[in-house]
């Protein structure tokens, strides 16, 4: 009996905890949006300077690594699609395969995973160490809402930068594929790119961008909420950081799958 009830009990506890966690994250989201939109009316304005600083850290600083990865993914897709489509003598379809899979899927996914690793973890670490050293309490007692000061700027910056980075990654990845595939197809890279442009419809891009918005919310909420719930000193901060990254990536991939399923039926 015990052997059966104990795993059940811990499963139940985990379920309760994750529901509580989702409830907490939902509240964080509402509060952040509230402060961003109406904070100025209650003396808690969102500071543009903080948003810009976050945008720099999340977006601009990520450009080199996003470029590198997107280029690599583009070349990789070029290789795979040429190899696969050659068997059917359908090499010329590489252009459309790369264009659609990058804009609908890989651009957003790769960017989100990267940003989760860079900025989601940074958020969790920063807010976590601030909780541990009572800086969050200090903000609250100074009449500065921690959610407004710490979470809202990150959320807004993420909502702006992740879609931008995604479009950027789309472009770079297609460029990478063009560089690799155009010799194999006996076309110039310019012709390859022109053909890509003529094949893509706005819906393809929007699919990636819509995903990027969802991923932005996921990354921020997970980073911020694990940060705020840190207890147990420096070790706790380390654990929270790891947890934020792992959780974000899991949620991103699952959300991506769900999204793709419903958008491509």
């Amino acid at each position: 009996m015990n052997a059966l009830s104990r795993p059940l009990a811990s499963l139940g506890r985990a379920a309760v905890q994750s529901v509580a966690g989702i409830g907490y994250a939902g509240m964080l989201l509402l509060e952040s949006l509230y402060f961003a939109a109406l904070g100025w009316r209650v003396g808690q304005p969102l500071r543009l300077r903080q948003v810009l600083e976050q945008m720099r850290q999340i977006g601009v600083d990520a450009l080199p690594i996003v470029t590198l990865l997107a280029l690599t993914i583009g070349v990789m897709l070029g290789i795979q699609f040429i190899a696969a489509l050659r068997e059917f003598g359908a090499q010329s379809q590489v252009v459309v395969a790369v264009a659609k899979s990058v804009t609908r899927e890989f651009g957003a996914l790769i960017t989100a995973i990267l940003v989760a690793g860079r900025s989601g973890s940074a958020l969790a670490a920063r807010i976590g160490s601030m909780s541990v050293s009572q800086e969050v309490d200090a903000l609250a007692t100074m009449g500065i809402e921690p959610v407004r000061y710490l979470a809202a700027p990150a959320l807004i910056a993420m909502l702006v930068m992740l879609p931008v980075l995604t479009v950027f990654a789309d472009t770079v990845a297609i460029l990478g594929a063009a560089l690799y595939a155009s010799p194999a197809l006996n076309v110039t890279p310019a012709a390859y790119l022109l053909q890509t442009l003529s094949l893509l419809v706005p819906g393809d891009l929007w699919q990636g961008i819509a995903k990027a918005f969802v991923f932005a919310v996921l990354i921020t909420l997970i980073g911020v909420s694990t940060g705020f719930s840190v207890s147990g000193g420096a070790e706790g901060v380390g654990r929270a950081t790891t947890r934020a990254v792992v959780l974000s990536i899991c949620y991103i991939i699952v959300a991506d799958m769900v999204f793709s399923f419903f958008l491509n039926r």
Binding site: D137, T141, G143
Partner: protein, 283 residues
Amino acid sequence: MNTRVQQDATGAGQPSALGPQPLIEVEKLEAWYGRRRILNGIDFRVDAGEIRVIMGGSGSGKSTLLRHLLGLQKPRSGTVRLLGVDLGRASEREMLALRRQIGVSFQGGALLTSLSVGDNVALPLREHTDLDENTIRIMSRLKLEVVNLGGFQDLMPSQLSGGMIKRAALARAIVMDPKLLFFDEPSAGLDPVVSAELDELILRLRDALRMTIVVVTHELESAFKIADTITVLDQGDILMTGTVDAVRRADHERIQDLLNRRPREIAVDADAYLRRLTEEQAA
């Protein structure tokens, strides 16, 4: 630029018909962590202009009490009223107005590590006033001078010593000229000379700036030096509140134990311990 400081919306500080209003009024405050009661329904009040020291052994509930006074934790039952505002019932707007009149210096300083010392001190002014940048800079520099840190505004918190961090935190706590100042463990982790300096500083704040100050500490020496009145907390109960002399003379056994640094007799209830262990196993 106009230099309007947001209006005090709490109505506190106005003389009431019933004589001076207590700045802090706590009634039947109970605090729990899970199934453990930490504060057993305590009552106390702090009047304007005094330095109140809350004293007690480790684990007596001092920090828990402080968190409730600051509104960082909600009481299980009972009320906390600061400057006439009931923390349990205050709207967000009232809480904000209240917090502008309260300064807190946390045990570890709690300076924001991403901001310079000067920006830390200026933060409340930047967030809560319409003052222009120049005025803000001058005001925060003045407050840094009050705590003998003039000229250190450009350093980062990580470049300060423990005593300097405490003083910078104090400067930030008083930058809005609060009516009420809370100070958690001013002398913890400091050498005697530095901690004596901080004591002097606290006395000066009361005399020069007419602040009401609540200090939480377990340092007897510093408590006796700065306190107007002392509240002795033990295991979630208030044993007594009185002047320094009254506390010194009190013929309460636990108080004398505390004063003479005699450890509490450690009584282990083996049965209860076993029961707890088995309960935790079952849980």
